[in-house]
């Protein structure tokens, strides 16, 4: 008597999809700077400062925190996360502000590096 093939339930497919998504992110992390969804807590200590100018006026610390929802000046995964947040805010909410942003950071106490918006 031929054996009945059991169908894989949708739950199994969904669980496999979630785990596969993470595997893709883990592999992707080898090729990009960002560390989203790949289980990389405390891969790097990035200490940074943010200078933001709107219309020639420099924003204070509280205003910068509020603008980017970044209350801390340290990121423990990747500085790319901070860059992504600043870029996205300036492309969307701050589209008409013509803000000039200067991000200065060190990674694990290394050399001082800089990133700015608009990107040259």
């Amino acid at each position: 008597m031929p054996q009945r093939r059991t169908r894989t339930s949708w739950r199994t497919w969904a669980a496999c999809a979630l785990l596969s998504f993470q595997l893709v992110c883990i592999v992707r992390a080898r090729f990009v700077a960002a560390r989203y969804f790949c289980w990389a807590p405390y891969d790097a200590i990035n200490v940074f400062t943010l200078q933001v100018e709107l219309g020639g006026q420099r924003l204070g610390r509280a205003a910068v925190d509020h603008r980017y929802h970044l209350p801390r000046r340290r990121d423990n995964r990747s500085i790319q996360h901070v860059i992504d947040i600043v870029s996205q805010v300036e492309r969307t909410y701050g589209r008409d502000d013509s803000a000039r942003v200067r991000l200065r950071y060190t990674t694990n106490g290394g050399a001082l590096q800089e990133w700015s918006w608009p990107v040259d």
Partner: protein
């Protein structure tokens, strides 16, 4: 009489401490309840999109009362979970809402929320009987990925990460004293490579039944040592969440074992009757969890 017994049965099935007789295996339901406890009292999440990973989510900012609506949905799902009502659906709702909160705002991205989200989603997708393999794989994957990520970082391999973190950020006194007593760089390399080795080892060790007990002890010790090393800064949430998730590796008996009546003249260790009760009574875990959550600064 019949009504009274029905009512008693209903109350027994839906009491928060009970983890039996639902669509989820008892250890999975217990894990979900314990994680939801921490989520509600220590790590509230928010749902209004800010800088989303998925651009179309940005349009949801205009939805009036979105935050209140989703908070209410979360609260209802947690309540349903605790009352053993549609536990699978509740886990999926909680996990889905947590995932939404992550995708809606990359500024709020955090590994612990992602872990909670995956744990709830996979709990909701786990089979009624048999080991929850996907959940077990998830926990192993967390450690394995963390180890691989660190192994691929030059600053971790050289010990530079530890040297900077322990001295400049933490100013850990024990570390500073030990470092001065050892040749330059040795302590940084030792701590870095032992962390990498433990994380790479924990994943497979948890999956293999023969090493599982030792792996669970190692995992708890690992997370506790991080908390001690960082003088209480890291990581209260992972010291809670990951050991709680180890419950999914437990084989829960069909019925909790009963204490055998003592035979006259029989002698045995004083804890012999207590140990199985502690292991298989969810109330003990819930009490321990409540005490831990209350103690977290």
């Amino acid at each position: 009489m019949v009504m009274a017994s029905r009512l008693t049965g209903l109350l027994a099935r839906h009491q928060p401490i009970s983890c039996r007789g639902t669509a989820l295996p008892p250890p999975v339901l217990l894990m979900a309840k314990l994680l939801s406890l921490y989520l509600v009292f220590r790590k509230p999440v928010h749902f209004v999109p800010f800088v989303p990973f998925i651009q179309p989510l940005w349009a949801l900012r205009a939805v009036p009362g979105l935050e209140s609506l989703l908070q209410a949905a979360l609260a209802l799902a947690v309540l349903g979970l605790w009352l053993n009502l549609r536990v699978r659906a509740c886990c999926l709702v909680i996990g889905g809402l947590l995932l939404f909160s992550l995708l809606a705002d990359r500024a709020a991205y955090s590994n612990h929320v992602f872990f909670f989200s995956c744990a709830f989603l996979l709990a909701g997708l786990s089979p009624r009987r048999g080991p929850p393999r996907a959940l077990q794989l998830q926990i192993a994957l967390v450690y394995l990925a963390a180890g691989i990520n660190k192994l691929c970082e030059p600053d971790w391999r050289s010990g530079q990460f530890f040297a900077f973190w322990a001295e400049e950020i933490l100013a850990a006194p024990v570390y500073l004293q030990l470092r001065s007593a050892l040749p330059a760089g040795w302590l940084d390399l030792l701590l870095a490579w032992s962390t990498i080795a433990i994380e790479l080892l924990l994943g497979p060790a948890l999956l293999w039944s023969r090493s599982r007990a030792a792996a669970i002890l190692l995992g708890i010790g690992f997370h506790a040592s991080i908390l001690v090393f960082t003088q209480g800064i890291l990581s209260w949430v992972f010291l809670y969440a990951l050991p709680v998730s180890y419950l999914v590796f437990a084989r829960w008996p069909e019925a909790p074992p009963r204490r055998k009546p003592e035979m006259p003249g029989a002698e045995g260790p004083w804890w012999a009757g207590i140990e199985p009760l502690i292991r298989y009574r969810p109330g003990c875990y819930l009490l321990a969890a409540a005490l831990y959550i209350a103690a977290v600064p």
